[in-house]
Amino acid sequence: MNTKSHITDGSIERFVLGFSTPEEEDELYRMKIQFLDVCTEMEEVERRIERIALNRAIIPPITVKWEIIESIRREIERKEEDEPVISSDWKVIEKALREDLEKKNELSFSQTITIHKGWLVFLIGELAIAVLGLLAMLVHHIIHRG
């Protein structure tokens, strides 16, 4: 494998400066883990670019740091609100269970009422039939006696 071409064809610089394609990056990564000279050269170019940037550092406006800190602080707080502590979790679970149980009880009560109403209609029906039967027997008896 000719690793020299990878070292000198600019693919390392393109990667370090951030404008190589994903395919080129994958290829370079494969070369890096396979060949020590590619790995060493990459590390060297990365360190050189970093050194240039550090040597030419320019102090940014002081407000930038505080705005970043404030953003991060708000982000951490939001995350804590989204993921409450366990005790609060239990309260939520407990409330949900209670509501669920109440719903089930209500359902059970209304079902019971429905069953009772059914029985009531049935009994009234049965009673009406019995009364009608008795009346029929009484009428029959009077006619035959007469």
């Binding site: 600019g10 990667f15 400066l17």
Partner: protein, 176 residues
């Protein structure tokens, strides 16, 4: 919030992955200036540069878990975030929009990069390159064009773009 400690790259990465705010503050103190100088290589608008730096550090905080140490150094990863952030800002600005939409004439001399008020880092180094090489570094690194786009914009074959870019990077390599 200045940090009294120093960290190795490994310690720095581990601290960041554990969302250690002290390590994060150290990271800012150590690298904000370097990343700011890189961003100022792309724009002479200090307000935009400050915004881009702020966004860069917030992205570092949010995306540190996606950083793979096997692929490259932490600074290379942060440099990429800073470059992409400022390029996005430039693309979104009206000025850059009209600039990107405007086709570049075949004569590379029309691409002026000498009007940049800030001359830092790589921008300064590229001033020592031959014009045809400097233009390719400018279009690919500083403006984010792909090699295919450069080929169309400059109306030169893709193979020529690749050859010239390779030569430009080789020349730049000697300088760094």
């Amino acid at each position: 919030m200045e940090s009294a400690f120093t960290y190795t790259e490994y310690e720095l990465i581990q601290g960041l992955k554990h969302r250690d705010t002290v390590v994060y503050a150290y990271l800012y103190d150590r690298y904000a200036g370097a990343l700011y100088s890189i961003i100022l290589d792309f724009t002479n608008d200090e307000g935009m540069a400050a915004d881009a730096l702020q966004e860069t550090f917030i992205k570092i905080w949010r995306n540190i878990d996606s950083y793979d140490t096997a692929r490259g150094r932490l600074f290379t990863w942060m440099h990429r975030i800073a470059r992409n952030t400022v390029l996005d800002k430039l693309r979104n600005s009206e000025y850059q929009h009209s600039r990107l939409m405007k086709p570049v004439e075949g004569d590379v001399a029309n691409l002026s990069i000498d009007d940049h008020s800030y001359v830092f880092g790589l921008r300064e180094l590229t001033t020592n390159l031959k014009k045809e090489h400097r233009v390719l570094i400018d279009l690919s690194y500083f403006q984010g064009y792909t090699q295919e786009e450069i080929s169309k914009q400059l109306n030169i074959p893709l193979g020529t773009v690749k050859t010239r870019l390779r030569a430009a990077l080789a020349a730049l390599r000697k300088m760094i």
